[in-house]
């Protein structure tokens, strides 16, 4: 589904990713681990075409992500849901509107929105807070909202960049369970983290980065740094 072919990314002189080749298949749950600055976030930014590789290519199925036109890129992004460490919610919109926005963006009808949003709100247990604004939510609630927004359009792939980085253990657990549940329903998930307990709990594929290079790729991985 996603193919990194000898990808190198440099920011001026400093190398962020060096000669990375990874293949991620449909339905996988992949954790990418490493110290800060190992290149985890760069990797996700490359998949979302927020950054372009200095060398090499990144393919989504059979298309080179970085050769897409602006319009095709918009269409591609609709197939990918994103969850960030810092949530990145729309501060001027309520919980309900934040989720509805993702559906409006992909031109879903009013009926679909009316039907699906409450459903997802229930899934992430935020029904009672539909009309709250993001600044009125706790960290865990914000992240659950971000996940709800990411899955509402039923994307093929979800990228979660340190989704538990700002959460306490209980909220971390909830978020991870939620992601696992989504993965069980068939959605591919790429997760970056440096939380050891998270990894030991989920028992999925782990790719370890160090100084921009892949140093381990374990089928049922453990945190090995």
């Amino acid at each position: 589904m996603i193919y990194f072919n000898n990808v190198t990314k440099k920011y001026r002189e400093s190398v962020s990713l060096e000669d990375v080749s990874i293949t991620i298949t449909q339905g996988e749950f992949v954790a990418i681990v490493g110290h800060s600055g190992a290149g985890k976030t760069t990797l996700t930014k490359l998949i979302l075409a927020e950054e372009s590789p200095t060398e090499g290519t990144v393919f989504f199925e059979s298309t080179d992500i970085h050769k897409l036109s602006k319009k095709d890129l918009t269409n591609f992004r609709r197939k990918v849901g994103v969850v960030f460490q810092d949530f990145r919610l729309l501060s001027n919109k309520t919980v309900y509107e934040n989720i509805a926005f993702a559906m409006e963006a992909v031109e879903k009808s009013e009926e679909d929105i009316f039907q699906d949003v409450p459903h997802v709100l229930e899934l992430v247990d935020l029904t009672s807070k539909s009309f709250y604004f993001p600044h009125q939510l706790s960290g865990g609630e914000k992240q659950r909202l971000a996940i709800a927004r990411a899955i509402i359009t039923q994307p093929d792939l979800i990228i979660a960049d340190e989704p538990t980085g700002n959460l306490d253990p209980i909220n971390t657990n909830e978020v991870m369970n939620l992601l696992k549940k989504i993965n069980d329903l068939g959605t591919t998930i790429i997760l970056t983290t440096h939380n050891k307990t998270v990894l030991d709990q989920i028992k999925k594929r782990v790719i370890t980065l160090e100084n921009g290079r892949v140093i381990r790729d374990d089928k049922e991985g453990k945190y090995m740094l």
Partner: protein, 307 residues
Amino acid sequence: MFLINTKRIIVSGYRNFIRSGFISISSVLIMTVTLFVITSLIFVQAALNSSLNDIKEKVDVTVYFVSDTEVSAIENIEEALKNLPEVRDITYTSQDQALVEFKERHSNDYLTLQALDELDENPLGASLNIKAKDPSQYESISKYFESDDALSRGALTVIDKIDYHQNKIVIDRLTSIINGAKKLGFAVSLILVLISILITFNTIRLIIYMSREEINVMKLVGAGSKYIRGPFIVSGIFVGVVSSLVTIILFIPVSIWLGNQITDFVGINLYSYYKSNFLQLFIIMLGSGVAIGSISSVFAIHRYLQK
């Protein structure tokens, strides 16, 4: 889908405007200042024009005739003058009228009146007061009296004096001041308007700059450029609409106050001017507000939508 999208964009733009609270208020304030400047300039132009007209009205040429000129000779000349294209209006003052006016003017000057009484006959001549269509045309009117056409009518023998030559310097200077004031007024207006538009533009740019993270999030969620841009433009339009409403209300007390204070000075009551041109002024304010708000938003957001 187009209709639904439009509706969503408008609703979202409206909500952004309302929910941004303090930010919206500050951009409305800045925009109000801009519209205030634009409207003030319209007022200044109106006041300037009206006082210029007043001044123009005061410029004229008077032809004095020697005291025993036949009325028919004067009528001949009046007739000839009326045919000149430059002439707008001619007022005839007879010898008797001139005397009455002279006495009125000097009613406190006992000595002069007594001297006048000493004379057996009326020493004052009849006169023609000529108004031109434009101040610059007085020269050609006064030249007319030196031309052959006027001579053939025997004008030269009956004319005592033409006061144009005495007024000439004053008239010339006034004409150049009028033209200068107009040019200067226009240049100053233009600069002020440009400055305030720039300030408004930068304010809106800053506001959108603050939203750049959200714009990024919208892109990542898969929203197209139009769908991201739309609500910002709608917010900009709302800023324009609200500001024009604020400005139009603000100008009611301002114009009443100006009407009370400077009507004598500028020769126009700005409050009645405001009332009679209300709709026009409102359309100008609304139009400029909406245009500045939306165009600024389009330009400001452009750079965040490139990939």
